[in-house]
Symmetry: C2
Subunit: 101 residues, 2 copies
DNA sequence: TTGACATGATACCATTTGGCACCCTAATTA
DNA sequence: TAATTAGGGTGCCAAATGGTATCATGTCAA
């Protein structure tokens, strides 16, 4: 879980995940979309893979990087624990609004 | 949003949020629960506050730190975008399981 | 008023992080 | 076969990060 949270902490890595949501891409294709070198993009990809957020598939000399949304589950699970406090607050807000009617 | 993601990237800070889910606590009370100095805890609290994940209230010489779950919304919103890919996968899995019946 | 307590702020240190330059290997293709 | 193309890997660097130690300030209690 720590690896996933860490991977999501960088804005470039979140953008990479968004880009991959449209389909798998090679390192080269991703590099064309970001203002940095291929080596830098590659490093981000390694971090994302460590976090279980993407999988790679080698085909010839190309490596396709594919979104692995299941890797987000530990993150959402952790966050969902706090929904109860958010929901309570929402309920209180709704009560307030209702009382105004 | 970046500040919130960054705040969540550190395990100690996530533990602090969990601790605060039981109620607001002073810096001193939090320090007693973590193996580090008060200054270190304080730094984490500043990062969490920057991320909008907690609010502070000064009362006399004590500062109460309170969970601010609404600050998690930008994070969950961003993650929810990926639910469609996760859900698609789940649907496919469910179809597979159903076919087995 | 004085001493103890809770906190804030800062300086300093070791490690991690994001990025680039560079070199090497493998695969494609003229 | 030779040249080009896609990647992987490493070393280096500046900046950010997590921690500690230390000093200063405000508050409570005797």
């Amino acid at each position: 879980m720590q690896a996933a949270f860490r991977a999501l902490a960088d804005p470039t890595r979140r953008d990479i995940l968004t880009a991959l949501s449209t389909g798998e891409m090679t390192v080269q294709q991703l590099t064309e979309r970001f203002p940095m070198t291929r080596a830098a993009v590659k490093k981000h990809l390694v971090v994302l893979e460590d976090g279980g957020l993407l999988t790679t598939r080698r085909q010839g000399r190309e490596t396709f990087n594919k979104l692995h949304p299941e890797g987000l589950k530990p993150v959402t699970d952790w966050l969902n624990y706090f929904d109860q406090f958010w929901d309570t607050h929402l309920s209180a807000l709704q009560s307030t609004l209702t009382q105004k009617d």
